[in-house]
């Protein structure tokens, strides 16, 4: 045996993988061959280096939460969460969910501003749970009447009577926040950098990037579509004889006008306050808490109070969406959905979380506010035959649809169906996703199929596996349709199975689109016999959503850019120690940057920005790791933390909102009701806490969410004085 033959065996010897005979042979050779002995040493040293340094990735909690979600969806015939989420945008949803559910209890013990001794209780991340301020309030001690014996009770003097009563009763009161930006929060306060805040920065950067790139591709066409819709709505408004529908149409038109940048007056007539109605119900059982809760304690915060003024238009638009079917032009359906999206959040431009809500308004799972609203809308429209347990059921949907059509005909909304839009701009598959459109076009258009001039979105849906879409599309009886569809499905599967790689050859837009389609295909594959979800037009709404995003971009301030600045004199913020989450976000931002082919000025700008954000988030991840390990911050994490306020100014939404959730009430009769999302502007919280000696103190400060207020550290001596004269910062509560 030559040395050359011997070499693999030397490697195996180092691994202890040789049989007795082989080992003997190799050892004998080694004894006489310096070259092979040296090889053995080097191979062992190489192995040691690999063992020492190889990356050992770990499953982060965010991914784990998503896995559990998928597992739950697979195990239960009833979906818990929409199993389909967009790659990038979906990450926000999932991350926000984690952020919302994560903060159950964290214990901060800060010895000085610079030495970080933090004890974190392990945080269980359930795949689905609603956060509730009251959960944290369980830690709140019993509060004596009139706040007697509570140190610095004088700080409660700013509360009004109802608020003070709530504080005395519950030891916790959340006041509506003021319209502040996240940047202002971090620039003015010595605040904890939370996952929520990081998400807002990240989400802002990602949505801006998406918007800008989509905008370049789509916005012009979309604006034309919206103009068209506005015109149609005006005509509808003029012709309609139903007063409520006229009003609805007028509102809808205004929403579209807002989207187009026109100014409109507020509608004084539509102030039906659904929230108030619910609040009047007083105490009832909270499904979240498993006990009775007095809902009047919850303040309607921020812009939610304005929402009822949009309620009617949302209702109208939802009905319109319901009545629109394949017989209607694509662009009208799309525009309706877009307007619906805008109606949900006409002012919070660029915040796709709201727009995602708009989608869940139509497609939401039963646990979502969206689905409940849909139910309400359907009930209003179609009467009590609408039952929540039937929403996933195709047959029931067919019946509903039929009812809806009858109703539409009776209430003359059928007029919508007769709008002639032959001269309207075509709403096409967006941006560079044309190749997909081309694929559909060439397979299902008039060239191949007689009697089918051009494929519709319904065809695309059918092609990617929506059975109802297929049924509807096939019902036209076009010869050869089914065969063409099968062939197309196969080709689409080939394309969509490998979205990332394929997308590398295309633009970011194509990438996201393909990914979305791939998700749909996967979802269909993994479906466990359950039929498609309520109004299966996910791909459709995806288009509408992205189009809406793109149109919103036109309303964004021009080319507002900022430089990430660092203020070394600012006090060093603390960071909520979730290194995995920040790293994941950094990763996400970088991946999106890679996905955007930097071929246009917008895309180049977006890419650069995403890289900056990714660096910042990597720094936060590092800082979080250091926090967990009880080390001081390194220069890099300091830099990230000190740049955070500046990043918030550039990337976070103009007004920051807390990310809380829906409170579902289940009545004694099994009926479900819901309390509005409690998300609102930055809150001010007042909480009575006991220190180690049992003395009660009133703690107050601005916060991104109630869960931040879980630091049972005693206040400093002069807290009372400070609380009375100014806003104590978070630091004053968590720093001894």
């Amino acid at each position: 045996m030559t040395c050359e033959d011997m070499r693999p065996l030397v490697s195996a010897l180092a691994d202890g993988e040789l049989s007795g005979d082989e080992e003997k042979t190799v050892r004998e050779h080694l004894a006489s061959c310096e070259g092979c002995r040296s090889l053995e040493r080097e191979l062992r040293a190489t192995s040691a280096l690999v063992a020492k340094h190889a990356l050992r990735p770990e499953v982060d909690e965010l991914s784990w939460a998503r896995f559990e979600e998928a597992l739950a969806a697979e195990s239960s015939p009833r979906k818990i969460l929409s199993p389909w989420r967009r790659d990038v945008l979906g990450l926000v949803g999932a991350a926000a969910l984690v952020a919302v559910t994560a903060g159950l209890s964290l214990l901060l013990t800060i010895t000085s501003t610079d030495t970080i001794g933090v004890t974190w209780t392990p945080r269980h991340l359930p795949s689905l749970a609603y956060s509730d301020p009251i959960v944290n309030a369980a830690k709140v001690p019993t509060v004596p009447e009139n706040l007697e014996g509570v140190a610095n009770a004088g700080a409660a003097s700013v509360l009004n009577a109802a608020q003070r009563k709530a504080l005395e009763r519950d030891g916790l009161v959340q006041l509506p926040g003021t319209e502040r930006s996240l940047a202002a929060f971090y620039e003015q306060e010595h605040a904890l950098v939370t996952a929520d805040a990081a998400l807002l920065v990240w989400g802002g950067a990602v949505s801006r990037a998406t918007l800008e790139v989509e905008c370049e591709n789509v916005a012009p066409a979309l604006v034309a579509t919206l103009v068209h819709l506005e015109r149609e709505l005006r005509r509808f408004e003029e012709r309609s004889t139903s007063e409520s529908f006229t009003r609805g149409a007028r509102l809808a038109r205004r929403i579209v006008a807002v989207a187009l940048g026109h100014t409109v007056d507020r509608d004084p007539e539509s102030t039906q306050d659904v929230v108030k109605l619910r609040l009047q119900q007083g105490r009832s059982l909270s499904a979240v808490l498993g006990r009775e809760v007095d809902w009047t304690r919850f303040h309607t915060r921020g812009r939610l109070s304005e929402r009822p003024s949009y309620f009617k238009s949302v209702t109208w638009l939802s009905e319109a969406a319901l009545h629109l079917d394949a017989a209607h032009p694509d662009e009208l359906r799309a525009a309706t959905l877009i307007a619906l999206a805008l109606a949900r959040s006409p002012e919070a431009l660029g915040r796709f979380v709201d727009l995602e809500d708009a989608v869940s308004l139509i497609h939401g799972p039963q646990d979502d506010l969206g689905a409940l609203e849909v139910l309400e809308i359907l009930r209003n429209a179609l009467g009590p035959s609408v039952r929540p347990d039937l929403l996933g059921n195709d047959e029931a949907l067919a019946v509903l649809e039929k009812q809806a059509r009858l109703k539409a005909a009776a209430s003359r909304t059928g007029e919508v169906a007769t709008i002639d839009s032959s001269d309207a701009p075509r709403f096409r598959l967006m941006g560079a996703a044309r190749s997909l459109e081309d694929l559909v076009l060439s397979s299902l258009s008039g060239e191949r199929l007689k009697g089918r001039a051009r494929p519709t979105s319904l065809d695309l849906l059918a092609a990617i596996g929506s059975e109802p879409a297929r049924a509807v599309a096939s019902s036209e009886g076009t010869p050869g349709y089914a065969t063409a569809l099968d062939a197309l499905s196969k080709r689409l599967e080939d394309v969509t199975q490998v979205p990332r790689a394929v997308a590398r050859t295309g633009s970011g837009v194509e990438r996201s689109r393909l990914f979305a389609l791939a998700k749909l295909v996967e979802r269909r594959r993994s479906a466990t016999g359950a039929g498609p979800a309520f109004m299966e037009t996910q791909a459709y709404s995806d288009r509408a959503l992205l189009a809406a995003l793109a149109s919103l971009n036109t309303a964004l301030p021009g080319s507002e850019e900022g430089t990430l600045t660092t203020d070394p004199s600012a006090p060093l913020p603390l960071v909520e120690p979730l290194p995995g989450l920040y790293a994941r976000l950094a990763h996400g931002a970088r991946r999106l940057a890679l996905g955007l082919a930097a071929t246009t000025p917008n895309a180049r700008r977006a890419t650069e920005r995403l890289h900056r954000v990714s660096d910042l988030l990597s720094g936060l991840s590092l800082a979080a790791t250091e926090t967990l390990e009880g080390r001081g911050y390194t220069a890099e994490s300091r830099l990230a933390l000190q740049s955070f306020a500046s990043a918030a100014r550039i990337f976070a939404p103009k007004s920051a909102f807390t990310a809380e959730d829906v409170h579902v009430l289940v009545g004694a009769d099994g009926k479900r009701e819901w309390l509005e999302r409690t998300s609102g502007p930055l809150d001010r919280l007042y909480v009575v806490l006991a220190d180690e000696k049992g003395a009660l103190r009133l703690v107050s400060g601005p916060a991104l969410s109630a869960r931040e207020l879980v630091a049972p550290a005693p206040l400093t001596q002069d807290d009372a004085a400070r609380a009375a004269r100014s806003d104590p910062s978070w630091a004053s509560h968590i720093v001894r």
Partner: protein, 186 residues
């Protein structure tokens, strides 16, 4: 040695207890991820493969006969999922420009961005640059400590191939790491 807690979990998971399966999966998630990563050399793809593998394992739990340990069985599924993805990736990249690819791989991982340790960075880069087949064998051996038999099982290749892949992988690494090796040797 039998792990009774694990057997209990497997038993319950088989009876349809999703929570039990979830705990079982949680126990081994990182090992599966590392195995998938060994094959794919990319964290994000490995995460996807791991999730897919766990869901598959859940669906096919009935076929787990208990002869091998759960993690061995699940690892096999994870490497399979990863190998499928690798195959797919290869096909998709056929028409792609090579430099764009290399660039993206280098910038792929946010975790890698956090690397400050030079030696570690060099070793990781060298590992990244190995041909996937060699990388998988080397990592499963040196990081996971699997025997050649187990690697052969996980990757579905003969034992002799495992030996040669590990050897060639180490040879390549040895060349790339010669500077480090010289430093570490007396």
């Amino acid at each position: 040695m039998k792990d009774e807690a694990e057997e209990l979990l497997v038993g319950r998971a088989r009876e349809g207890d999703t929570a039990a399966f979830s705990r079982l999966a949680e126990r081994h998630r990182d090992a599966l991820l590392r195995a998938a990563y060994a094959v794919l050399g990319n964290e994000a793809d490995a995460l996807d493969a791991t999730q897919e593998a766990l869901l598959r394992a859940h669906r096919h739990l009935a076929t787990y006969d208990g002869r091998a340990s759960f993690v061995t069985w699940a690892r096999k599924i994870a490497t399979n999922c990863a190998l499928n993805r690798l195959e797919q990736r290869k096909r998709d990249r056929a028409g792609e420009l090579p430099d764009g690819d290399a660039l993206s791989d280098r910038r792929e991982s946010a975790t890698a961005e956090l690397e400050r340790d030079e030696e570690r960075a060099i070793v990781r880069r060298a590992i990244d640059e190995l041909p996937p087949a060699q990388r998988a064998a080397v990592l499963l051996r040196d990081v996971e400590g699997l025997s050649y038999e187990e690697i052969s099982e996980a990757l579905g290749i003969p034992k002799g191939t495992v030996m040669s892949r590990i050897y060639y992988g180490r040879e390549t690494l040895k060349e790339k790491l010669s500077r480090l090796l010289a430093r570490s040797q007396p």
